[in-house]
Symmetry: C2
Subunit: 296 residues, 2 copies
DNA sequence: AAAATGTTCTTTATTAGTAAAGAACCGAAT
DNA sequence: ATTCGGTTCTTTACTAATAAAGAACATTTT
């Protein structure tokens, strides 16, 4: 056997979502146009069209591609089947590590992990290699992978590194004359106010906004090494949020308010205040991260 | 087929080097002791002993392992065969990239690279994945690896990041009360003086000493993220040294003298001077790196 | 002539199978 | 009794084979 057609299935689902915006009798664009839309090759587009014709959604004769009926929920492939294996592996791996609360020192076997996560072995391998620099796992030459555990020490070192790098990035942001940054800040203010206004449990959108806010800061450094570290932080912090739900609402709202303080100080150009609000925020973030570990 | 016995061959070579220190008629230690010495499993040790007996170097009967004759140069396996594939792959890959002077945008194909470097495909794969965060290569989903090239921009970003992190590490070193650090510094002074005294072309030892010196500094931060970045720097700088040989002697001696200044300021406890000498050194390092690119 | 389609050729990702290296167990010798 | 050696069992790493996905070329239609 070979690979599992994830690209094809993802293509079908994207195509179905597009077809839902049309009316029966409408014509689809050219294969090349669809390839652009589905972000894939024409080869895959043709496979998708053939599939759509087979299930009777469209009539396909040469360059005529006519929509017969609107897509039905059952036409879609289930989400996991239509996710790229790399993304799937990462999601499931992190969730597994967090949920099963494995003890530090646990040995991870590629084949075993692959079976547990239901993803191909090479993907697990790639994932583990990519993850090693994060410091959560380690490999002994010619031996196996071991879990290092999310210790207080780890959290402290991460927070230290973050303070150093994000602090520098923020300093550059303040020094920058780029109007684009102010525009992004204004947009951030809007989004923060909007999220704070919603009293409900819509805090599920918080991690994404939090990551976006910090990405704006890191981006100001215009340095690929900064950006890379930002990604790591957001990954670890994101899964930390997912894991530690206690006081979530209170904690997230506090963070949003701290963000707003920083944003507003930037917008009015009060650099001293901005700097101070930023340091405060990083301190809060550090405390939250460290606290979440000791309460495990 | 399967794997290429690198561990075994490396074991044989290490064992031969050990035997060269003995006299014919001497007895070898137990299998467990040899396993400790060769840094490998007893299974491999027994394979090595069998090999040594086969080529008539030792007589092996149960627990009696008697040296028959001293090892000959021809008994050793050639170095590349006896190197762990991961190290071999890394060495050859970097050398290949630097030497063949590939244009940015060049497509790297795993199988092709594996053939060129004469290393197994999985090793190339692992190497490329590990290398991606260094920013020299990139992967497009479902497509191939492309070389980003060692640009001036890259060098600048690397130097910026280095100044930030190593600067912080050095500040912690100065603040530290740890006597171990002073001891390491004294040892560094000795090694630097020794290398500077040798007028000859023994500068081949410079990269190792340079890396060791900076490792002492990064280690003072006691932060795994600092250490990891230090590794990257040393890797890139090392290969930059190897590639750019012009003015090598002059450049290396200058660097050694700058190191000495820093070391001595630390030893006498003059923090202001140490700090200043360190900043100067980082500036020199940056200039050297950037210059080496523009002269390609 | 231009654009879209049909066809063919590469390249990549995955699985299965096999040999090397590691680990554990048990019996023998000091 | 304890250390050492023989044996067996696991686990890992590599090769090879195969199907999916991408890319290029040729052909057809407007």
């Amino acid at each position: 056997m070979s690979r599992g057609q994830q690209t094809f299935k993802l293509g079908v689902n994207t195509a179905l979502a597009h077809l839902a915006t049309l009316q029966p009798g409408d014509r689809l664009g050219s294969e090349a146009a669809l390839a652009e839309l589905l972000q894939t090759s024409r080869t895959t587009v043709r496979a998708v069209l053939k599939h759509l014709a087979d299930i009777g959604l469209i009539e396909w004769l040469g360059r005529d591609k006519i929509l017969r009926r609107l897509p039905d929920p059952v036409d879609f492939f289930p989400k996991p089947e239509a996710t790229l294996p790399a993304d799937l592996a990462e999601e499931r791996f992190l969730e597994w590590v967090m949920r099963s609360d494995l003890a530090p020192g646990t040995v991870l076997r590629e084949v075993e992990v692959a079976r547990i996560l239901s993803v191909p072995v090479p993907q697990v391998r790639e994932l583990l290699i990519r993850f090693e620099p994060n410091g959560l796992i380690e490999k002994n030459t010619h031996k196996n992978w071991v879990l290092n555990g999310f210790t207080a020490q780890f959290a402290t070192e991460l927070a230290d590194m973050r303070a150093l790098i994000e602090g520098e990035a923020f300093a550059r942001l303040l020094a920058s004359q780029d109007a684009g940054i102010l525009r992004q800040m204004a947009e951030m203010e809007r989004l923060h106010i909007a999220l704070l206004a919603r009293e409900d449990a819509a805090m599920s959108e918080f991690p994404a906004l939090d990551a976006a806010f910090h990405r704006v800061i890191f981006a100001a450094a215009q340095n690929r090494f900064f950006d890379e570290f930002a990604q790591r932080i957001s990954l670890i912090v994101h899964y930390h949020y997912q894991w530690n739900k206690c006081d979530e609402q209170v904690r997230n709202r506090a963070a949003l308010r701290e963000h707003l303080q920083i944003i507003r100080a930037c917008l009015v150009g009060d650099k001293a205040l901005a700097r101070q609000a930023f340091v405060t925020h990083l301190e809060t973030a550090r405390r939250t991260l460290v606290a979440s570990i000791s309460t495990r």
